[in-house]
Symmetry: C2
Subunit: 76 residues, 2 copies
């Protein structure tokens, strides 16, 4: 089973990587961009039947820093 975890910075948390990307896009002539935020995806092959609770525990304990990051779990 595939699980995908999307980790993004909470609103209000400074994002220097996003700022740098934004600046570079402007420098390349892409003017329509008004905001950029950078985050992470983690794709995992997990055992079939792994429940959402387990995936949530992985996020809370290791994958996301819940003080400054939100996460979203997607399974297929």
């Amino acid at each position: 089973m595939k699980a995908r975890i999307f980790i993004t910075l909470k609103p209000g948390v400074l994002d220097p990587q996003g700022k740098a990307i934004h600046h570079a896009l402007n420098g390349l002539g892409f003017d329509g961009v008004s905001d950029v935020r950078a985050g992470k995806v983690i794709e995992m092959d997990v055992a079939d039947g792994t429940d959402d609770e387990t995936l949530k525990a992985m996020c809370e304990k290791l994958l996301a820093n819940t003080v400054i990051e939100n996460y979203r779990i997607e399974t297929e």
Copy 2:
């Protein structure tokens, strides 16, 4: 308009970050995980009506290293 770019390493490209996450998950007792790959998400606010060609150009020129990375564009 929101655009989301998902950037993942191509299959076969070594992923030390994913390996480290995998190892750490095992260390925490999550045994059902057989593979982990780490990637990036870039969330952008772009001008309404920005076409897919422009977003593709951003990926090709700056956001993704197309030698080793795949990208996927999602707009809403």
